[in-house]
């Protein structure tokens, strides 16, 4: 029996669809409410023909409303909404006692000022910022915080791939925080399910380019978490790129070694050796997006270049998976005292 009742708000995009996919297959969770203004009244399987014939896929989209979600009996609601909009639903759902896992940026930052600087409008619910937990369960103590959280801010796609390998090195002072340079490459689904011609097949295929330089919004949460780890303000150089793949993020980060090169592998091992979802590939082993797509895995390899004195961190994840939907389900598992890997073991 599927004991846990869940809702997905704003389920018509790629992140929403991936959440639906994971929850339809989840052995312990049941979808009781999915919302979409655009698809109100239509069953999931009509909007997403891939789900056709799967148990639960006859559920119909409803208009988004906290009342409807509460009436359906949802214990947990996932918000796959644009930033700014998500906060409004979070407030209403929390008031009804429904725990919220927000996949937007609205509650990822501790500071309303930084939010306004990066997102261009005042924070819509600053009073909730203290309560929200940044849901990167692999960080020290974070799983415990998520377990008891009412409001989890699930991390962005780039941040997960960048923060995770860097944190243990910063915590141990193995690299110079001022020297961090990151390049990420994202598949096109990162742009969302969009009619923007820039992301049409003919424009995105056979096209490789940087974008969003030099101050991508995700920098705010990246630097927040790195600063916590380093115990000092950290700013990094970050360049995202769009590459012709459906999903996946490959991230290459380098930084100047300030400690012992052998300590790099040891620090990663200490932090993630027992992790369910971080897979350490070892020295000289690049991470490949094709090994992690449609999973909750984050693969991490590393190397050291004695010529330049720089450490290389090579990570890969699915931008819609560990970078969004499956990471949010991982938080749900923690919040509901399920096994962390429940419903997340598909490969």
């Amino acid at each position: 029996m599927k004991a846990i009742k869940t809702a997905v708000v704003g389920a018509s995009g790629y992140t929403g669809a991936e959440l639906l996919r994971l929850l339809l297959m989840h052995p312990a969770a049941e979808l009781v409410c999915v919302t979409s203004r655009q698809y109100e009244g239509e069953p999931l399987e009509k909007v997403f023909p891939r789900f056709r014939g799967v148990q639960g896929s006859q559920l119909e989209f409803t208009a988004p409303s906290a009342d409807t979600i509460a009436a359906a009996g949802a214990e947990v609601a996932f918000l796959a909404l644009p930033h700014g909009v998500a906060a409004e639903y979070a407030i209403a759902l929390l008031e009804k006692g429904i725990r919220v896992i927000d996949l937007s940026a609205d509650f990822r930052l501790n500071s309303a000022e930084v939010y306004e600087e990066f997102y261009g409008h005042p924070h819509p619910a600053p009073e909730l910022l203290d309560e929200a937990v940044y849901g990167l369960p692999e960080l020290k103590g974070r799983s415990e915080a998520i377990k008891s959280a009412k409001l989890v801010a699930s991390p962005g796609c780039y941040p997960t791939s960048i923060i995770t390998p860097l944190v243990p090195l910063l915590e141990k002072g193995l690299i110079d925080p001022a020297s961090i340079v990151t390049c990420s490459m994202s598949g096109v689904s990162g742009a969302g399910k969009t009619g923007n011609v820039l992301f049409s097949y003919c424009e995105a295929n056979e096209s490789v380019r940087a974008y969003g330089v030099p101050k991508h919004r995700h920098l705010s949460e990246i630097e927040q978490e790195l600063s916590i780890a380093a115990g000092q303000a950290v700013q990094i150089s970050f360049t995202p790129h769009l590459v012709p793949a459906h999903n996946g993020i490959c991230t290459t980060t380098s930084a100047t070694l300030t400690g012992d090169a052998d300590a790099i592998g040891a620090a990663l091992e200490e932090a993630y050796g027992d992790s369910d979802f971080v897979r350490l590939l070892g020295k000289g082993q690049p991470a490949d997006t094709k090994n992690v797509t449609r999973t909750n895995f984050l693969d991490i390899g590393w190397d050291y270049d004695p010529r330049t004195g720089r450490v290389l961190l090579l990570s890969a994840e699915d931008n819609l998976g560990k970078g969004a939907a499956s990471q949010a389900v991982q938080s749900m598992n923690l919040m509901l005292e399920l096994s962390a890997t429940e419903g997340l073991q598909n490969i």
Copy 2:
């Protein structure tokens, strides 16, 4: 009438095929000899069905031999051979008075010691290293050197995209040479026409990964040219990546600004404002591989991040074009006193 007689040695791979394509269409050059052990006796158009029915495509592959090439009357020979092998043909062809444009790495380095360090065997013809000209025509004074050269070492694919934007900044002391970090993303044709299953469609599609870290062979020529420009030894951090595209290289380089940010654009403009093939996109404009594939263009954009004090250089080229074959044809044009753009204006 096509006045200039040319030969291509080792014409069965992707670089060779691109050379053939350019020379078949070139208004002033004629292919008189193409060699391939594998395809000896077969006409070009059988091996490359794309060329079928095009004037000149009935020419048959011959076994590689300097005598045959000389007998065919070639004035210029392109070598699209593996390193180590190319040198042997270069010696034989130069002895017969045939000018050589070598697309391998054999003559790109000034130092036989550095060659041995990076390529793992002694240099096959160290006596020719002084004579060879590193054929990046956009560099200051390089066009003149190419015009009179007997032996041109045509640059590698990554180096062209990395060296070209950096040189003017290093020459003017605008960036810290010790701070350079480069990420490049290459299409799969960079691996050559190969039966290696790693580059099969199903392995390379939907796969994004770093490789060849931390000491890629191309670093040797990159650092050689950057050191000349900087007037001091330069070592850079360079991470190449493989992305699911046919061709194209996108390169993102960052370095700490040591001068005035406004000087960046001015330095690029001064160096390349009149260039036929370097297209300056301006500040905040990323370069996209899709705009340069099958051309000899190198697109360069740039940006400055005041948060980290780093300059961003964003460049794109075709790895088989400006990164290999069309750049070699550009050298041929210079050597034979043709217009630099002859046969290279297709878009």
Copy 3:
């Protein structure tokens, strides 16, 4: 000197862009006017960054107007407009003595009734239907008609690949006209430069499907030309498919042999053996889109299956090239007494 002045009306889509590319490179044609409401006032090279730095690419888009086109001195105008709209411009341009090559469907059909049946609205200029020449130059006598035409209706992408191999067999009565079954596979550019999410990268990548069944609009012109060849009304079964490629159409047609199998190759050879752009691959040789993209070639192979008594015709072309833009330029060459291959020899 580029002697012939040309205009492109509606130059902002993929067919328009391909026309611009061909005309910018054409040795005898000059672009004097390009129109686009959307991009009025912007230079070509800004809208199409690939053209940047190419001679002629500074030309600015104007609003579409026959007066403007005439004032610019255009002798020939290409219409890359939606059906229904094209006719209106054709009328105005012809009145000003400007010859018109229309890439829409407006003048492809001899019958206004059939037009209305397939396109859903009355024909906008039935009085011009007699004057228009269906511009498939490889058909018997068609080149002559094109040479003197004031109005050429350039064929659709699917029709060229289907009609061309069938016509000689129908003319010679080698196949049963009632037995023709065609499957075509088109790259995504066939859908145009569109913001429709169906053609976004993430929807079109890794997706293969039929569409537009069972009565695709192109059937009307296909059956018109086949009926002429057969000397009787012909109706065919035609199923187009969308495949994850940028451009290219691969067509497989089969029909019951009614004559001698050996006569198939002979009939194709007789019809197209001397053609500049039809390349006969021979028996048992499938045509591959990758050999014809960005060219004006149509590759045709064939086979015979004695088990079922069916002939197989295997053809490939570029939907934007021989299926649209380069075929239109081929008509222009004929109309202006240039060599048929001028500006169309790039590979």
Copy 4:
């Protein structure tokens, strides 16, 4: 607890890998033996980095041997071996009382003569042909036969997509068996995990072409099953195509209607309306490979063209899934009295 012990023989290719993926995730099956000469002694997760960290992925490849498989306690063995080789293992395994699901062609045909005609060598074990069950569980009575079978011949990728929609129409006499024309489009994984340069990324990307005409090996099993359904010998025209996708087969079949058009949908509904894995899309609804990849679903749409009197059957499946590995697991479920959908519900 995973109660059923399974073995996979020849597990290093794409079909083998998909079998491993499904069995590693299967709630009731345990992998106890996997064989590969090439990878002997290496753990699954090293050969397939995607499986890293998943329970069971530490299992090591062994050399293929019926003794080893028996010693490991396998009840069922899957053979993912080339035809000709598979039979040899089937004999040895059956002798040890291990039930066999063979994914090769060795036991798909009822006739050793037809086998020799299509596969070019005498059948290696003609005495087993009577015993083998052609494992297309959706066919009438086939599930029952599979349940008690010792040896299941799991169908080829093309046949499943072609046979399934045709059988109900042939059984009811709704179409003319002599009029069947099929076009299929397969992703590149259909060629196997191969170093053949024809299937390298740069050769297969942006390439669409027919191949294997006019007498593909799969015709033998297709026509066998169609003949059974029609009650008369059936021969069809079948043209497979290679398209640039990782996996998936899209099939379009047409045939002349001999009955009532309305009966088409009814016949499909009667045959497959209750099927777990055949999803009927209805009239005018094309099947799209992107909705079935990595699943055991076969999607079927259909249409009728009154102009030509032909019925269109539009089907899609994953060539590695319903066309190979997941179909084989479906047979295993039947043989072991599990729910048919066990381990096959992932989307």
